[in-house]
Symmetry: C2
Subunit: 198 residues, 2 copies
């Protein structure tokens, strides 16, 4: 299936570029539907696009609630606000959850690549206790302080790939808003864009 570079992708790359002096410019809010039927929303870090595709990579812990959420409803919406350029991207799509048990060798390779692309320090957090569970006193002794840099992904590490099919872009400086949506025609993806009222 052919991949067409989405028209919103260049806008997003420009926003990343013009806000790159801010550490938090790669932080975005990732909303899912919780297993209790309520919305859930948390900050995650953008880990780039998968190869040359439009798919957004996010690292997460297999033991976090969002994994359960995505098993029940595989859709998510990213809200990404750039604090310096006053631009907002709302990116909606289906999420592929890639853990170590994935049967597809290509996907396991993507997961391994993303693991090695993350810093040794951020890899360590997957060896800590289960996120969200009650903290049993001082567990710092249980968390290893180093990890062999050549060791592959640990079992708790999970790669999320969000495949956008709707993007809403707002520029609060120019007061412009664009709505992008993807249609699949004969195995080809095609994006339309419309100017809408802010």
């Amino acid at each position: 299936m052919g991949t067409v570079t989405a028209p919103w992708k260049q806008l997003l790359l420009n926003a990343l570029q013009s806000n790159s002096h801010l550490r938090h410019s790669s932080y975005l809010q990732f909303a899912t539907i919780g297993s209790n039927g309520r919305p859930a929303n948390r900050t995650v870090v953008f880990r780039g696009f998968a190869d040359t595709s439009n798919k957004i990579q996010i690292n997460t812990d297999c033991r976090s609630h969002k994994i359960e959420d995505l098993k029940q409803c595989p859709f998510a919406e990213i809200c990404w606000y750039f604090t310096d350029s006053w631009e907002q991207f709302r990116i909606n799509g289906k999420v592929d959850v890639i853990d170590g048990s994935n049967p597809d060798p290509m996907k396991l390779q993507q997961r391994e690549k993303a693991w090695f692309a993350s810093s040794p320090k951020s890899r360590l957090q997957y060896l800590g206790p289960t996120p969200g569970l009650p903290s049993l006193g001082d567990q710092s002794s249980e968390v290893p302080t180093s990890l062999d840099p050549s060791a592959g992904p640990v079992s708790a590490y999970c790669l999320l790939l969000l495949d956008p099919d709707q993007v809403d872009y707002v520029n609060l400086k120019s007061n412009e808003r664009l709505a992008f949506s993807r249609k699949n025609i004969n195995e080809e993806s095609c994006w339309s864009s419309d100017r809408v009222n802010p």
Copy 2:
């Protein structure tokens, strides 16, 4: 029904204080369940707590999609990341949608109070064309450039009141995480808090 000041409220007020030099410190991401059954997520502005309660005030346009969303599922989750102090608040609760047709005089009064608390410039946007609809060329001539400052809320103005019942707090500097949850016992609200793994 008695209102107990929630233990997370002071943490939030401290975070607002320590990040107040940043214009975007009052911006938060508000997730709902869209009418298509997918998550929806957008940036909104914190407009303070309603009087002395724990309820969070947000201004919105009656014609925006989130109003439809909240009619079908009245729950929302706020994700609020403070970029200077590295603190995140995830605030989940039921949302009361207060528009001009609300039958409760007390709520209409709250709506009016919130309207006058917002700047004359921000009031003007409720007189613009319907947000999200296709933009029909240059409509700047249709949007009034001033509004009588003593005029009450226009029909498109809506006040949202989120009544928190679960709050998840993470401090990325100290690596601490606290889970707060509300229980109602004999008409009294009571909050529990637990240290959980980050």
